[in-house]
Amino acid sequence: MSLAEKISDLDTFLTYSVVLEEEAADRHDELADMMEVHNNPEVAATFRKLAHYSRLHAREIRDRSSGRSLRVIAPWDFEWEGMEGPETGDISDVNYLMSTGHALKIAMGNEQRAHDFYFEISKGSPDPAVRALAAEFAEEEKEHLELLEKWLEKHPESDEDMRWDPDPAHMPE
């Protein structure tokens, strides 16, 4: 049974959606923190903004689900396709010298996966209400993607910087 088939009621779907967005927001904040600590304010600001959007989206979904009882699922019991939620950026993809352009590309990958997740459900869930809402969310993600694409146009930097690091590591302890 595919995940889409298993998400057969609105509660489950909303639960997945909220967690998807909230985890993404937390991760973006985490990445922003990393960049702040490592003196990359530009990319930090980018991730912070992305966190903000994910959080907005999460709140929106929470609002829409008010009155419903979201399910409580342990983090590891979500059946995401990957190791984490589709919109949650991979910690190991970042580098302190990364450019905003690189960060945005990562974000686009996340949004793409989020889109694909909703899209699959919009096609495969047995519940028509779920399918409808998922289609709506997929559409939103697509808008995000387009927004990011425009944003990226303003940041054509390559990530050559990441490869040539003139500053050696040092030893704090």
């Binding site: 937390d26 985490e30 990445l31 923190d33 990393m34 960049m35 702040e36 600590v37 490592h38 399910r71 409580v72 699922i73 342990a74 983090p75 590891w76 019991d77 979500f78 190791m83 984490e84 991979d90 910690i91 190991s92 993809d93 970042v94 580098n95 302190y96 990364m98 590591a169 040092h170 030893m171 704090p172 302890e173």
Partner: protein, 278 residues
């Protein structure tokens, strides 16, 4: 599981401190922090009843990034410090975390003895096969031909330890391996480890992008063990030996007597003082 989960009062974030980690962006250790905070939140443990003890190393900085009681001790001695704490305060949930150098090089003796002693605590080695904090020297889990350290410019030429194997032989009663690329899977393992009565050992494969950039490929090699949890040490030993060190999951779990010193019952000084008189 739903029921237990409903009792959750604190979120994973509540288990994080206000300090922002100094770890390099991309470091696996972030995911260990996430996994720990998720596990604690899921288990609904009050922050003040948990203590996280660590040694010295990049990974050992983790204590300061949680909001439970913590002790960032000296290099290699986290398990000893934690054992004293647990002996005196059996009521606390004691976690210990640190690096492969901290736990298996300078701390190797405490590691095998903690496994043997089987106190009720959970030990997480954040294994990046390198000394991160001191700028990239070989650790006991480093492959013999890794030649990027100036200290051992031709590689160590020495076979690495298998931490899980060592833990098993030394007597750990719960042994698992997780991967930071799968923080949720790691969190799940931690819930089982913390729930286990006795010494639980979790090796968390935690890449160091700074000194071991090649470890960024780990995500393509890591896979789940395809067997069930074993309670048979011989079987577990075989599984560990046959594996390439990249399989994750709970390898071994077995109940054995948990070491708990003292009875906690105070019978007073009286008779002791009178021993002195003749």
């Amino acid at each position: 599981m739903d029921q237990a989960a409903q009792q959750i009062a604190l979120t994973p974030k509540d288990f994080k401190s206000a300090l922002k980690p100094v770890w390099c962006p991309g470091c696996g250790d972030f995911a260990v922090l996430n996994a720990i905070t998720k596990a604690l939140a899921f288990m609904g443990l009050p922050r003040e009843e948990v203590a996280l003890i660590s040694g010295i190393g990049c990974s050992s900085r983790i204590a300061a990034y949680t909001s439970v009681y913590g002790f960032h001790g000296v290099h290699g001695r986290a398990l000893a410090l934690a054992s004293g704490l647990k002996a005196a305060r059996g009521d606390l949930t004691v976690l210990v975390a640190g690096g492969d150098g901290d736990g298996l090089s300078i701390g190797g003796n405490h590691f095998i003895h903690a496994c043997r002693r089987n106190m009720d605590m959970t030990y997480i080695i954040m294994d990046n096969e390198v000394y991160g904090m001191t700028k990239g020297q070989a650790s006991p889990t480093t492959a013999p031909d890794w030649a990027d350290s100036k200290l051992t410019p031709h590689g160590t030429g020495i076979r690495p330890f298998q931490p899980a194997g060592l833990a098993l032989t030394a007597g750990a009663s719960f042994i698992a391996r997780g991967f930071t690329g799968d923080p949720n899977g790691l969190a799940k393992i931690l819930v089982a480890a913390i729930g286990h009565k006795g010494f639980s050992f979790v090796q968390a494969l935690s890449p160091c992008p700074t000194f071991r950039p090649e470890q960024m490929l780990w995500k393509h090699h890591v896979k789940a063990f395809d067997q069930e949890i074993s309670s048979n040490p011989v079987e577990a030993a075989q599984r560990i030996q046959a594996d390439d060190g990249m399989s994750t999951g709970i390898i071994y779990q077995n109940e054995r007597p948990v070491f708990r010193p003292g009875t906690g019952v105070d019978n007073g000084m009286g008779s002791i003082e009178s021993e002195f008189t003749i």
